[in-house]
Symmetry: C2
Subunit: 135 residues, 2 copies
């Protein structure tokens, strides 16, 4: 989908605890560092829909499993991507893509390395039933 990049990331085995890469300055999809924050999502709960008009998201899931649904309102395309520490990839979401996400395990954690700081006025929200998707 235009505006979406999936980048496989390294998980480095270590006997005392693995290392998980997330993002380097200059990586594909990096558009500057504005803010980093975590979001948790309970099992079976869905957060969304939301789209950003300025922020580029870079999303990594080091704990649990999260299903992301992306919706391009120009092409009317949906894209479903499930990320976890097993399917360990970075999901870059450019501006004007609608996104919702659902927790799949008991504990689910995502890190967003956002290109700008949180600004409520640059994000748009819709209720989950305002974009029809066969969850």
């Amino acid at each position: 989908m235009d505006g979406v990049i999936l980048t496989p990331l390294k998980r480095i085995n270590h006997p005392k605890g693995d290392i998980f890469h997330a993002m380097k300055n200059g990586d594909d999809g990096f558009e500057g560092f504005g803010e980093a924050y975590f979001s948790t999502i309970n099992k079976a709960d869905i957060k969304g829909w939301k789209k950003h008009t300025k922020m580029v998201l870079n999303l990594v899931v080091p704990v649990g499993t999260i299903e992301f649904i992306l919706y391009n309102e120009d092409s009317k395309d949906f894209l479903s991507i499930e990320l976890s520490s097993e399917n360990y990839q970075r999901l870059t979401v450019h501006q004007n893509i609608w996104m919702a996400f659902r927790g799949k395990d008991e504990n689910n954690l995502l890190l967003n390395l956002a290109s700008i700081e949180h600004q409520p006025e640059e994000a748009m929200k819709l209720d989950i039933n305002e974009i029809e998707y066969a969850w």
Copy 2:
């Protein structure tokens, strides 16, 4: 301790899963974005000692509990700090501070928002018994 900053961070309650702030561009302790990576540490295992000559670390613990021991070899001071999602703070570690850390829970995860990309030659390592500390 000189070279170390502790910054309380917001945890925003949400019925579908809480949000945890980590760092904004321009926050106290932010010295540029080089790389973000996760490290896990098994219960009772210790990683360290390590010090960086160029990298500034910004450490956040969204899962589990991790005990950090910092050692300033000039002043011979030790500092012990335990971080978790309950004691949710950002630990900034400037250059030339020795650090080791121990996992306290079953699952422990730290995020390092590092000021430069990983460069093996800028870090120094010592075996855990080479700096005496009453673990």
